[in-house]
């Protein structure tokens, strides 16, 4: 810890309580705003999916309809796991891996009539190996056609939500980039700590430790590294390329090319 860190005042329990009460008013306001936004999502119009898509799954070919596993709702996260992505063939992209780490036991989403699945370009045998290595248990499919392009996930990670009415499937929602962040509670935990995420963009008191966004990311089965080829730094470079092109210049795959070991 740098000695120059300008910490907030150290106060008595009563004074802290007063400051905390003030912050709580703002936190509650944000919680209500978040609820209102989720209420709007539930009123978004639906888009009928008429094209047929074919995925490869652990049990062979599967349609988009099959991905629901009989439940009413489907959330599909596009993760970058394929030849050419940093970490291949041992790992998925470091950011997508972090998202996968933070998926809790799927029983809870299933209890709300919702299936959560991941999809990537890698063949099933590679997906199976990476899942086993990392201890991930969500269903994970192989994209075989234009699905990624049609649903805005050919360039960068993203989450699509669908609903089913009998055989009919509707796209209800799509979110990507920082919007995917809310699915990962690591960021939410860090946001309540004294130091925050310790990333450069944050508005923190003077002297707080801060490193570039993404740079500190790791694969959970590998120790943190400091070399130029560390996964977080590669992710940061890839994001810069993506953001510079207005979000659509180069594929994440291409941006992450380079030494993969």
């Amino acid at each position: 810890m740098k000695t120059a860190m300008k910490t907030p005042p150290i106060v008595s329990a009563q004074e802290w309580e007063a400051a905390r009460q003030q912050l709580l008013v703002k936190e509650k306001k944000l919680t209500r705003a978040r609820d209102a936004l989720a209420a709007e999502r539930r009123r978004m119009p639906w888009l009928a999916v008429t094209k047929k898509y074919e995925f490869d799954g652990p049990k062979g070919k599967a349609s988009l309809h099959d991905l629901f596993e009989g439940r009413r709702q489907l959330i599909l996260y596009r993760a970058f796991l394929e030849s050419g992505v940093k970490g291949w063939p041992e790992h998925a992209c470091v950011g997508c891996s972090m998202v996968a780490d933070q998926v809790a036991h799927v029983a809870h989403l299933n209890a709300r009539d919702t299936t959560l699945a991941f999809a990537s370009r890698a063949p099933q045998k590679d997906i199976k190996r990476v899942k086993a290595r990392m201890g991930w248990e969500m269903p994970w499919y192989t994209i075989t056609d234009d699905f990624d392009k049609d649903f805005g996930v050919d360039e960068w990670h993203g989450t699509n939500a669908f609903i089913r009415d009998g055989d009919k499937v509707f796209r209800t929602y799509f979110i990507n980039t920082r919007g995917d962040e809310q699915m990962g509670n690591t960021w939410n935990y860090l946001d309540i700590t004294a130091l925050g995420r310790q990333e450069e963009w944050e508005d923190s008191p003077e002297g707080y430790p801060q490193t570039p966004t993404y740079e500190w990311w790791i694969w959970h089965d590998e120790p943190s590294k400091t070399d130029e080829d560390r996964p977080g730094l590669v992710q940061l470079r890839a994001y810069r390329v993506y953001a510079k092109g207005g979000g659509a210049s180069k594929r994440q795959k291409q941006s992450q090319k380079g030494k993969t070991k």
Partner: protein, 238 residues
């Protein structure tokens, strides 16, 4: 709710129309993100309280003080898991939250954070329940100290008799002998420990990834407003 009833509220539109609606919502989502960032900045500016009292917990490594729990890092997050001394199993809603802990905890140490759970139940009960649920988290017992009472997550028979409890920074009616919360501590270079933050009730909502996923779906959380977590079970009991 039947899908037929739901559809009454929903239009099915063309891709171009859907995109207009989606982009309109996106503007507000981005606004909320900025507000959230500003709120996190305000948390970092919150003053701290120096802790004078020594708490000793029973854990997998024997007796440990609050300062020991930092495990060489400067920040400590404590989840106050509802598991009273005479309870047979941990609270089901806390178990739902706890299903999210291990994933985040691969990454929190990278940002100088140690994460633990603390409950009043004896260590043997905590360990048996942890095994049943398949968790990795470090879980300590505060059975022999006032930690849970000082951080307003456990309540006395006296509170119950008076039907009064101080929870989530307000005086209210007694609800239960244990309630959920999360506290954050900071340790400086001299080894002094400070309390920086505590959150309770819906303040914990942002830590539940499954809720964040559900908030993206057409049906949402689909909860009874008077009994929000009614549908939640332990993951081996659905």
């Amino acid at each position: 709710m039947k899908l037929a009833e739901m559809q009454l509220n929903r239009e099915v539109v063309t891709e171009a129309e859907w995109l207009i609606a989606r982009k309109d919502l996106l503007t507000r989502e981005k606004e909320l993100n900025r507000q959230r960032d500003a709120l996190s900045a305000a948390r970092r500016a919150l003053p701290m309280v120096k802790i004078g009292k020594e708490y000793v917990f029973a854990g997998p490594n024997g007796k440990q003080t609050l300062a020991d729990l930092f495990d060489g890092r400067s920040q400590l997050i404590v989840y106050h898991f509802m598991f009273g001394p005479d309870w047979e199993e941990g609270c089901k809603s806390c178990s739902y939250l706890a299903d999210h802990f291990d994933g985040a905890n691969w990454h929190l140490p990278q940002r100088d954070v140690t994460f633990v759970a603390i409950s009043r139940a004896p260590l043997s009960k905590l360990q048996a329940y942890k095994k049943r649920m398949g968790w990795r988290l470090k879980w300590l017992s505060s059975e022999k100290n006032d930690f849970n009472f000082d951080y307003h997550v456990s309540f006395t028979p006296e509170d119950e008799k008076k039907n009064k409890a101080y929870y989530n920074y307000a005086n209210g009616q007694y609800i239960n002998d244990e309630l959920p919360g999360l506290s954050v501590f900071y340790k400086d270079e001299n080894g002094d420990v400070f309390h920086t933050y505590s959150t309770y009730a819906r303040g914990l909502d942002i830590l539940v990834g499954a809720y964040n996923f559900l908030d993206l779906t057409p049906k949402g959380r689909d909860e009874n407003p008077d009994s929000t977590m009614e549908w939640v079970r332990r993951h081996d009991e659905y």
